[in-house]
């Protein structure tokens, strides 16, 4: 972790309102209220992570940096977020090359994006009449861009819940607890536009989910994804380098350590 996070911690510690035990209590209560108690692998992972983090912080006098960004801005139900975590991990799984979506912070990246202007389609033309697509087709007329009246935040909530319902119907379990193969089957049907959604095609939701997963894996870490620039390391992408003047004509592949905007902008 960078010095920047340690500075943040120091500031928080000096703040009179800081109370680690209160923070832990709130977080764990949140987990219970959200309905993810002890069950799934992912839910368990989450809970453990929060507890571990606070304990480490307490034991080592805040030497281990807290990721203050890893809290929810947009999602209000833990079960929705659990589906998102499982789905993004399926799309971009952890493997021998390196971390998957969850470790890279992709679900939190998407949460933040949905809470901001992208989530409410702030830069999009939003006047009606809206003529949403109703059936998947190869015809150009039906392949045109987004036409749904729903904003992206609503589309994600709708889509993740439809995935959960579909998992319940097919496998008698929630999506995040379904097996890898079962999750894969639902994602494939989403991509193929085979799952019924009100107001848009499931393929359109899948497009957003897929694209935002890759964004979260490879964005500048300022957005909360691509944690520790590990996405870029896997991709051999060196980030915001100032110049390739001396190496652009190199015959051999050049490997470089990545540079983030936090570094490049020189604050």
């Amino acid at each position: 972790m960078t010095d920047k996070y340690s500075d943040d911690d120091k500031q928080t510690k000096d703040d009179k309102t800081y109370d680690p035990s209160r923070r832990r209590f709130l977080k764990n209560t949140g987990m219970v209220a959200g309905g993810v108690v002890g069950g799934s692998f992912l839910g368990g992972l989450l809970t453990n992570k929060f507890v571990q983090k606070n304990e480490t912080a307490t034991k080592s006098g805040m030497e281990h940096a807290t990721d203050f960004q890893e809290a929810l801005q947009f999602f209000t139900r833990r079960e929705d977020f659990a589906v998102l975590q499982a789905a993004t991990e399926q799309i971009f799984p952890k493997d021998e090359n390196g971390p998957g979506a969850i470790e890279l912070g992709v679900p939190y990246y998407i949460d933040k994006q949905l809470a901001g202007q992208w989530g409410v389609n702030a830069r999009d033309y939003r006047q009606g009449p809206f003529v949403p697509k109703t059936k998947p087709s190869e015809r150009a007329e039906e392949k045109r861009g987004e036409q749904s009246i729903l904003d992206r935040g609503s589309i994600f909530l709708l889509g993740l819940r439809v995935m959960n319902q579909e998992s319940g119907k097919r496998f008698n379990t929630s999506f995040d607890k379904a097996t890898e193969a079962q999750q894969g089957e639902i994602l494939q049907d989403l991509q193929d536009g085979k799952i019924k959604m009100n107001g848009l095609l499931s393929s359109e939701f899948f497009f957003l989910l897929h694209r935002s997963t890759l964004e979260g894996a490879y964005c500048d870490p300022l957005y909360g994804g691509n944690k520790n620039m590990d996405g870029w390391r896997m991709k051999e992408f060196p980030g915001a380098q100032a110049s390739y003047m001396g190496v652009i004509d190199s015959e051999d592949f050049v490997k470089m350590d990545p540079v983030s905007l936090e570094n490049y902008q020189g604050h």
Binding site: Y125, D220, G231, K235, F237, M245, F253, L261
Partner: protein, 584 residues
């Protein structure tokens, strides 16, 4: 209540290359100019530290904010047009400098064939070769007449390049040598040469060395940092209107640029334009800016929309073929004319694809324009083929061989493996005008100010599809020669339709030029035939889309238009007659 402002010599709508060039030339001649720009104020300082793929390439921070205004789109007269709702499907420029800020800098001279396309086609192949439903026409000017203006724009923008072995005659070489080369570019050039073609280095405005242009503006040498297309340059190393023509105009003390000024009408008395009406977007206050001459230098869509809203000229009617405003809309369409070609995956080679710059590449003209004999070909005009190394950013570049998964374990493995092992070559094809493809006002959808959106209708003809297929086939041939292990070739369907995507930013027509008011809205000085103190400058004046990127030719015609305006401001009258008489 509209507030009337003090009169100026010229009011210019839009601050991109066209508006900037006109502003520089008019203010240097001592005329007082106001530029109205609806977008935000931008300086080079705004582009420092902006190497942020999410912000600029996924959220399109520099592109037109469609929340306020967009276009509607349909593929046939019988369809109901729908709005293009987000920037994923429309990367149109906005803000000071317009699309000239986020371009890649590829700067071509359109061909002698382009300017005399009808006559030269008939001369070589006979009238029977003109496709049914085509509305192609001569532009009313020749390449030789345009050559000095091309040269002028290339010098303003510091274009870096080398002689095109198949290019038309030039009065001077490019002002800067080509950019550096890379192993991927060398591979493309070697394979093409072995096939008997004539590749040459992409002429471009990401300048190869620090350069001072004839107006005294400095453009820095490019450092190949890979954040170019969709970005403003971090280093002042890409020629843009902000660092060149707008800076030149500003220095004269004769130019005022107002941001947040959204022009909605040209005010006129039927014979002369008297000024423009605009809304200050921060207050909602309406102003009238009177001027001796009015210059519309916005994008194709804005120029056409303003004429239609102002009821100037006769709107084109696709049923009768009568009328001119909105006619001959063409462009480079992403599923037909560019962004398609052949992608090669290499197992043994690994390239530094994350490095690059907007104009880094190589291209060949063996099939451009009428360079090939079309006697036995089932299309007219042609395509150039290029490989470019723009700098592959990680979110947008996850190519995997066709038929393999696009998500999941295998996708992740393949996309990582091939990140620096895949090259794409593309054929950018011309698009010839037809009677069905045009611009008019949408009957349903409105912009944020309550005015109708512009409606775009695009229909591909057989000729266009045949040309596209021929281009892709050549890409495949070259990629095979380059030795890729897997070659994926884009399919062009026989019944391919317009896909409602507007992200090439190469859109053309609507206010076309010609030799006579019978077939054109403006003369070759971009002066309206029907209203001689109104000039409509930019890609809107081109009667068709050639195979090349348009900016070099837009720049040349803007210089020609500005020369005409300076003449008009001192002498008045219709320019074509005057200047022709003078030259005769």
């Amino acid at each position: 209540m509209v507030k009337k402002l003090n009169k100026v010599d010229a009011v210019i709508v839009g601050s991109g290359w066209a508006g900037g060039i006109v502003a520089a030339e008019l203010t240097k001649a001592g005329h007082k100019v106001v530029i109205l720009e609806r977008g935000k104020d931008k300086k080079h300082e705004d582009f420092n530290g902006t190497k942020d793929e999410v912000r600029y390439s996924q959220r399109y921070d520099l592109m037109q904010n469609l929340h306020k205004e967009t276009i509607t789109s349909r593929g046939d007269l019988s369809e109901t047009a729908l709005p293009v709702r987000n920037n994923v499907n429309a990367r149109l420029g906005e803000n000071t400098g317009g699309a000239g800020v986020h371009w890649n800098g590829w700067t071509f001279r359109w061909l002698p064939y382009d300017f005399e396309i009808y006559s030269k086609t008939v001369e070589r192949y006979g009238k029977g070769k003109i496709p049914k439903d085509s509305t192609m026409q001569d532009w009313g000017v020749t390449y030789d007449e345009m050559e000095p203006y091309f040269d002028k724009f290339e010098k303003t923008a510091g274009i870096s390049g080398e002689e095109n072995p198949l290019g038309p005659p030039r009065s001077d070489k490019y002002p800067n040598p080509p950019l550096k080369t890379t192993p991927a570019i060398n591979l493309f050039q070697k394979a093409s040469t072995e096939l008997g073609y004539h590749p040459y280095r992409m002429p471009g405005a990401t300048v190869s060395q620090t350069y001072q242009n004839p107006d005294g503006e400095t453009i820095n040498g490019c450092v190949y940092c890979a954040f170019c297309e969709e970005y403003g340059c971090n280093f002042g190393a890409k020629a843009d209107p902000i660092g060149t023509v707008l800076a030149t105009a500003k220095k004269t003390g004769n130019m005022e640029l107002r941001n947040g000024a959204n022009v909605t009408r040209v005010s006129h008395n039927g014979k002369r334009a008297t000024g423009v009406i605009y809304v200050d977007t921060s207050t909602g206050q309406e102003y009238e800016q009177p001027a001796d001459i009015v210059v519309l230098a916005g994008f194709v869509f804005s120029n056409t929309k303003l004429l239609l809203l102002s009821k100037i000229g006769t709107p084109y009617n696709p049923q009768t073929g009568k009328g001119i405003i909105g006619k001959n809309f063409t462009g480079h369409f992403s599923n037909l004319s560019t962004y398609i070609g052949a992608r090669g995956f290499f197992e043994e080679k690994k390239f530094n694809l994350y490095m690059g710059t907007g104009s880094l590449g190589s291209t060949l003209d063996d099939f451009a324009g009428d360079n090939e004999d079309h006697t036995n070909l089932n299309y007219l005009h042609g395509f150039e083929i290029h490989y470019s190394q723009l700098g592959a950013r990680p979110i947008s570049n996850n190519q995997v061989p066709v038929g393999t998964p696009t998500w999941g374990k295998e996708f992740k493995k393949n996309s990582l493996h091939y990140t620096n092992r895949n090259l794409f070559i593309t054929s950018q094809t011309a698009f010839l005008p037809n009677k069905y493809s045009y611009l008019d006002l949408d009957p349903t959808y409105k912009d944020a100010l309550g005015n109708p959106l512009l409606r775009v209708t695009v229909k591909y003809l057989e000729d266009d599809i045949n040309r596209s297929k021929a281009g892709v086939a050549r890409c495949e041939e070259i990629m095979n020669k380059m030795g890729a292990d897997i070659v994926d070739v884009d399919k062009v369907a026989d019944d391919l339709q317009f896909d409602h995507k507007f992200y090439t930013d190469h859109f053309i027509g609507g206010v076309i030029m010609g030799a006579s008011p019978a077939n054109s809205a403006v003369n070759t000085y971009s002066q309206m035939w029907d209203m001689e103190n109104l000039f409509v400058v930019g890609g809107s004046s081109f009667p068709h889309t050639g195979n090349y990127n348009p900016t070099g030719t837009i720049g040349a015609f803007a210089y020609r238009a500005a020369e005409g305006m300076n003449k008009y401001l001192s002498e008045g009258g219709l320019l074509t007659q005057q200047l022709q008489e003078k030259n005769a």
